[in-house]
């Protein structure tokens, strides 16, 4: 037997949890500055949900003009905000225009319906709009996540809560048609209301947790990127490049070779001393930008330190590496650095080496490429040497 106290408690719990979630999202947006716009949208979604349910729970206590129409509109707004926030967390763009149109339409329809006696049509409008909005957001999230997800993490479960919320609202809408005794009042102690409120509670928690996870994931990806990239040139840093190199060397024993192109900018110290560190930095960035088109998806481009870079080319032999290096040399040679209204000629020396079966570790290959690069320097720079 369901008592009124049970449904009231569940309503109160959902209101509280949505209220607390509001505070958390506001804190995330304003204090931690994590995805601020989407977080604020989530905060408002929770706040409006909390307010709508509060008005619903206080029907009969508050003046009717406040508790009915505004409450229903707030409920629709909350679904719209939820729908706008989810894509915002993945793409940084809060899509509010279509959502605003739907809200306006729903508000007008609700305004046209008379608020007296049977309120089932109002509830149907609210529930159907909610279902539609969350379904649309779910589909958008599904697509958006599919694009941004990296590798092995499956994005599907992250859009799931939205689909479940849509399903829940749709069920409530359908129930009002097929069950004669159904009531739009959430406080009524019916079996359906009891199950509905429990589901709503679980989904409120789940939805907020999922989005919080997405936000965390973005932070983590940022950390991973910071850990493996050189901040100046955005190439791999030494540690990450060494790892990639060891990985490639492990494949060597299994029959997949690789080649290295060692790159050292010519006369870098002179440039640094005469034009200053800022010019040196700009020169490095410029060189990396020029080299980038020669680097395939599978290649690894790392900065070993100072003006020394290395490109790891999997499944490539010495002839292939020579072609790549020669093209790189030309590109660097052709693009001067523009600094203080003047063009400064840049060039680099290249050493290439191919991994051989006898190489005990990747360091041996690296040393050969390094030696080749020094030979290139001795030959007068701006050349490729094997």
């Amino acid at each position: 037997m369901i008592t009124a106290a049970q449904t009231q408690t569940l309503l109160a719990a959902i209101i509280t949890i949505a209220g607390v979630a509001t505070l958390v999202w506001v804190a995330l947006a304003l204090v931690a500055r994590v995805a601020p716009r989407a977080s604020l949208a989530m905060a408002f979604a929770n706040a409006t949900a909390s307010a709508a349910l509060t008005l619903h729970a206080l029907r009969g206590v508050l003046p009717d003009a406040l508790a009915y129409w505004p409450g229903d509109v707030l409920a629709v707004v909350s679904f719209a905000l939820l729908g706008a926030a989810v894509p915002g967390i993945t793409t940084r763009q809060v899509a509010w225009k279509p959502a605003a149109a739907v809200v306006a339409a729903a508000a007008l329809v609700l305004l046209a319906l008379p608020y007296d006696g049977d309120l089932r049509w109002q509830a149907r409008v609210v529930n159907a709009t909610g279902a539609g909005l969350t379904l649309a957001a779910g589909i958008a999230a599904w697509r958006g996540l599919g694009r941004t997800a990296s590798g092995h993490r499956t994005p599907a479960p992250l859009a799931l809560p939205l689909f479940l919320i849509a399903l829940m609202m749709a069920t409530r809408c359908v129930e009002s048609f097929i069950r004669p005794g159904s009531t739009p009042d959430l406080r009524e102690p019916t079996e359906f209301n009891h199950v509905f409120l429990w589901t709503a509670l679980v989904l409120t928690l789940l939805q907020n947790a999922t989005l919080a996870f997405l936000v965390m994931m973005r932070l983590i990806l940022r950390i991973e990127r910071l850990l493996e990239r050189d901040p100046l040139t955005d190439t791999l840093n030494r540690r990450a490049f060494d790892q990639a190199l060891d990985h490639a060397h492990a494949w060597l024993q299994r029959g997949r070779g690789y080649a290295l192109v060692m790159i050292d900018m010519d006369h870098f110290k002179q440039l640094n001393d005469s034009l200053g560190h800022a010019a040196g930095d700009a020169a490095l960035r410029q060189m990396v930008r020029e080299l980038q088109p020669c680097v395939r998806e599978v290649d690894r481009f790392g900065r070993l330190g100072g003006e020394e870079f290395c490109v790891l080319l999997p499944d490539t032999d010495i002839a292939g590496a020579a072609l790549v290096a020669e093209r790189m040399r030309m590109l660097v040679d052709q693009a001067p650095l523009r600094w203080l209204e003047q063009d400064w000629h840049l060039s680099a020396s290249f050493g290439i080496a191919e991994a051989e079966r006898g190489d005990a570790s990747a360091d041996a290959v690296l040393a050969r490429a390094d030696a080749a690069m020094y030979r290139a320097k001795h030959q007068g720079r701006n050349v490729v040497q094997a």
Partner: protein, 397 residues
């Protein structure tokens, strides 16, 4: 609060704890964020579910069990919480104090249960939980250590303080209000207000810990953005920002000095022993220098083997103190050679010290002057500190 249904409140609370436990486990397993703290928190939440009971579901159980589970459970989940908090804040404190409080509390509960009293076990667990939550308050205040704004520190500390206050109030209630024995022994449900209050305290503690964790992640990102990954010294961008800041402070009478440092014969180490030895040498130097610097000093790696220290001075023209510091850094590096792969590699560095000039917003003149002194130190035979004559002294001479 009488419109609320207590078993439903307890179930909602159990659901919340379950979700929180899953969230912590997920953070620990998937993202490897604070894995040990996360597992402790998850355990704490699960224990909390058991300890709060669920009203009628324990009706048929023996009285001793019904009495023991909530008391031991509450104590255990507070202990787990405090351990997680210490991990989260990377406190170096040993857990001996927790062990003592928890041990005494458990002893008290056991003795109380054995005596058959309804009051004694509750009193023992309440008192120990209060002490533990006070420890938690101290932990949070110390762990944050003024690195966050007062408001945020207060918000983060409040839930633990609330738990302590709740414990104190309950202990007072147990002692002063007669008839508690019967409540407990009959296994009566808490009042709605009490159930709600407990739920709020649990939830706010969870939120507080989550915000601490997010704070940790964000500081890590900042650290990665501002530090040189190899040595942990400030990277050039961050050092330049600090220098610009210090130049702005110079107009307000807060002086500083720059000491430019270059490791002697660094290329030789690299060529003779390889890049790894070079990396080890850089790390070694930064470790030694950091140990000899104050917290307000800023050590940055400008590139390669070139470093710079920004030393805030008590008096704007106090060049002597800066020279003393530089001399100390030089001597400490010479005193501790690098041990690498069984080799002992002696290291030394040359220093150039200079005072800034007002009106030089980015500090370029100060850097150039320190750099010039560094070159002089190199030319005069390395492993020494050379000091630029202050421009003010030049002007009066």
């Amino acid at each position: 609060m009488e419109f609320l249904d207590v078993p439903t409140v307890l179930k909602v609370s159990a659901l919340f704890n379950l979700m929180a436990a899953l969230a912590w486990l997920m953070l620990a397993q998937t993202f490897r964020i604070a894995p040990r703290a996360g597992r402790l928190m998850a355990a704490g939440h699960l224990v909390r579910i058991a300890s709060q009971g669920c009203g009628d579901c324990m009706a048929g159980w023996p009285a001793l069990l019904r009495q023991a589970i909530p008391e031991f459970g509450l104590l255990a989940c507070t202990v787990l919480l405090l351990l997680a908090l210490r991990r989260m804040l990377r406190s170096r404190q040993r857990s001996r104090d927790i062990a003592w409080v928890a041990g005494l509390g458990a002893l008290g509960i056991t003795a109380g249960l054995a005596s058959g009293s309804g009051l004694a076990p509750q009193l023992a667990s309440t008192v120990s939980v209060t002490v533990l939550s006070l420890l938690a308050v101290r932990e949070v205040v110390r762990g944050i250590g003024g690195r966050l704004s007062r408001l945020i520190t207060a918000c983060t500390t409040l839930p633990f303080a609330a738990l302590a206050a709740l414990g104190l109030a309950h202990a007072a209630e147990l002692l002063l209000v007669p008839g508690w024995d019967d409540h407990v022994l009959n296994g009566e449900l808490p009042s709605p207000a009490r159930a709600v209050l407990w739920f709020f305290v649990t939830a706010s503690i969870t939120l507080s810990l989550i915000s601490l964790m997010i704070w940790r992640v964000i500081t890590r990102i900042q650290h990665l953005t501002y530090r040189d990954p190899l040595t942990g010294a400030l990277n050039r961008r961050a050092f330049e920002l600090a220098l610009t800041d210090a130049q702005a402070q110079l107009q307000r009478g807060h002086g500083f000095a720059l000491a430019m440092i270059d490791i002697d014969h660094f290329k030789r180490i690299n060529d003779l022993h390889g890049h790894q030895a070079g990396d080890a040498a850089l790390q070694h130097c930064v470790r030694i220098w950091q140990a000899g610097l104050r917290e307000v000093d800023r050590l940055g790696r400008l590139g390669g083997e070139e470093f710079c220290v920004l030393l805030p001075l008590a008096t704007p023209a106090g060049l002597e103190t800066a020279v003393v510091v530089a001399e100390r850094l030089r001597a400490s590096l010479v005193a501790e050679p690098l041990r690498w792969n069984g080799l002992e590699l002696p290291l030394s560095a040359s220093f150039g010290v200079a005072l800034p000039v007002p009106g030089d917003a980015a500090g370029e003149i100060a850097l150039a002057r320190a750099d010039a002194e560094l070159y002089r130190a190199k030319a005069e035979g390395r492993n020494r500190v050379c000091v630029a004559t202050p421009l003010a002294a030049l002007a009066t001479a």
